[in-house]
Symmetry: C2
Subunit: 337 residues, 2 copies
DNA sequence: CTGAAAGCGCTTACAG
DNA sequence: CTGAAAGCGCTTACAG
């Protein structure tokens, strides 16, 4: 069975295929009676437009690209899900690419997305390298960057106020009376990780808590890295009573390590995470964490992108949307005894 | 800056654009010297082909569609990640669609994928409805269905031996001496859920354990549903000592519910999950579960699909690949005391 | 060995 | 109000 095209429909309805196109797109007036005939033919043949042809002719591909470090990381999985949802509602499908923060893969995906004529791109990267995204504006492809800050020359930017997040997480522990507070970071020198650490340090200062560099261990934003970093942290600081972990996944790894060290949670060790992934509510003890408004971040990202796809976006200034973090107190943090 | 096309390259190299095309695709012999000139021009202008034009001309779009119930479900997130990985290695990008097991959304995505000329589709659906996938073969789009069985008329099929999985999970509990074993199922009447339950029942029979219908509660394959179902189960069967939960996410919800009921894990209640998502190793107690070979399932699915995309697939018989389940024993199950 | 041309399925000026 | 035709960027017979 050959695929039905606009010509088949035209023949069936006895009109030119230009007319069919206009009926489909409601792009010029058509005699009601003719329109009726065309619509009937459309339905009868179960026509669906070939988007590639449409796009080739200069139209939109109705496809957006999403480049993300790794969707098996729960934070990105939830963000990606939301983006896909909202895109779908707006009539866009999404091509997803996991970059693993690998520059080569990233470059590869970028080329692919351009070759496939995506209408726009949402780019999430926690990598520490400078990003070379100019190729998108050069190809007139709008882009929004999420979860890290960057110059507005290139893209719209949406992200959390990470420093503030680090601050309120640490302040919460300080207010509970903790004096020796460790911190498990992400792997990167740039990006959200550093900002959160800055907030942590600022809070320590504000509460007159002494900082030692061995209170910080580097993780990888995954379960395993959180576990390993906690091992080291506890070995180097047996008297620690609280840890601020820079994402929830590592916090779960941290809990495992703490228990292996014979600690009872939360009595012997309070833990604060970051992200508020769905899981954080269901583990035991449930995790005190800093919430990122996933839904809002995703919907603003998509909205900004579509605005620029559909509007004369070259004339509007790029925007930076910064979301406030929110402390969610659960069972994993208690008053220091 | 306008996008560079094959014509620009031809002009730069001083050849016809047919020749450029042939150089790019290595599709006929070109004088080495000419070839050199073309390649230089290609590089100089940083040409990348417009895949939509190529696809329109009858070629492949190098894009596959993946329809999946919900990537915020960790099982599907891991499968999707693997499929994306392997597809990328083979030069395909993937358009992802979350159906939420909603027939309308599913239909919508199917139309979209066809309109976008995907080369093939991987379809995962735990829904209980009969699927209407004939539209893909009608449009000459190969399809492989994962995680549920169906007629080979339409698609290749890859899935786990779910009944066997349910059996060995339950057998493990029986062998540990448990006599009263609950079961928390998925929401569906068809599909993997039922198969696993059959395995559960068969094991009960083999071990002379009495079955009561109130030993089964229906969940939703999510944290929350597992929690709620466990609440009911424990209320109706205070003397229960073990539960077989049909996926890991619900098992984590089950642990939470059990603790709220004052039970100590695993001493008072043994729990077996299903899937072996990464997380199951990191919670406390770590989860005994039935492993699905994600990587293998994904890679076979992609391989079968690409075989049919590239070969004369209409002549080869569709295949059904069934993977064996594997019991992974961790801390959540112990001998009945 | 290489070029000129047809055609994929559309949209959109251009005519009438 | 509607049709004939150009053209989007490619690939691939058809000529030479």
């Amino acid at each position: 069975m050959k695929r039905v095209t606009i010509k088949d429909v035209a023949k069936e309805a006895g009109v030119s295929y230009a007319t069919v196109s206009h009926v489909i797109n409601e792009t010029r007036h058509v005699e009601p009676e003719t329109e009726e005939r065309v619509k009937k033919a459309l339905k009868k043949l179960d026509y669906s437009p070939n988007i590639m042809a449409r796009s080739l002719r200069g139209g939109q591909s109705k496809t957006i690209g999403l480049i993300v470090p790794d969707t098996s990381n729960l934070f990105f999985a939830e963000i990606a899900r939301k983006i896909e949802d909202i895109g779908f509602q707006q009539g866009y499908s999404v091509i997803i690419g996991n970059s693993d923060n690998d520059l080569n893969k990233q470059k590869n995906y970028i080329d692919t997305l351009i070759a496939k004529n995506v209408d726009g791109v949402i780019f999430i990267s926690t990598g520490s390298q400078e990003l070379d995204l100019e190729i998108f504006p050069q190809n007139k492809i709008p882009i929004v960057v999420a979860d890290r800050d960057m110059s507005l020359e290139i893209a719209d930017v949406v992200l959390l106020n990470n420093k503030e997040g680090g601050y309120i997480a640490t302040r919460h522990l300080a207010e509970l009376g903790h004096k020796k507070i460790g911190c498990i970071t992400g792997p990167n020198s740039l990006s959200p990780s550093m900002e959160r650490v800055e907030g942590y340090k600022k809070a320590l200062i504000d509460f007159d808590i002494i900082f030692h560099s061995n209170l910080i261990e580097v993780g990888d934003f995954q379960f395993k890295g959180g576990e390993q970093a906690t091992d080291k942290l506890l070995k180097n600081n047996p008297d620690i009573t609280a840890i601020f972990v820079l994402n929830d996944m590592m916090a779960i790894g941290a809990m495992r390590a703490a228990r292996r060290h014979g600690l009872v949670l939360p009595d012997d060790l309070s833990i604060v995470g970051f992200d508020n992934i769905e899981l954080s509510e269901f583990i035991t003890p449930s995790l005190t964490t800093i919430a990122q408004p996933f839904g809002e971040i995703a919907s603003i990202a998509v909205r900004l992108l579509i605005e620029r796809i559909q509007g004369n976006w070259e004339n509007r200034k790029n925007q930076r949307k910064i979301f406030p973090p929110k402390l969610i107190i659960r069972e994993s943090t208690i008053k220091r005894v």
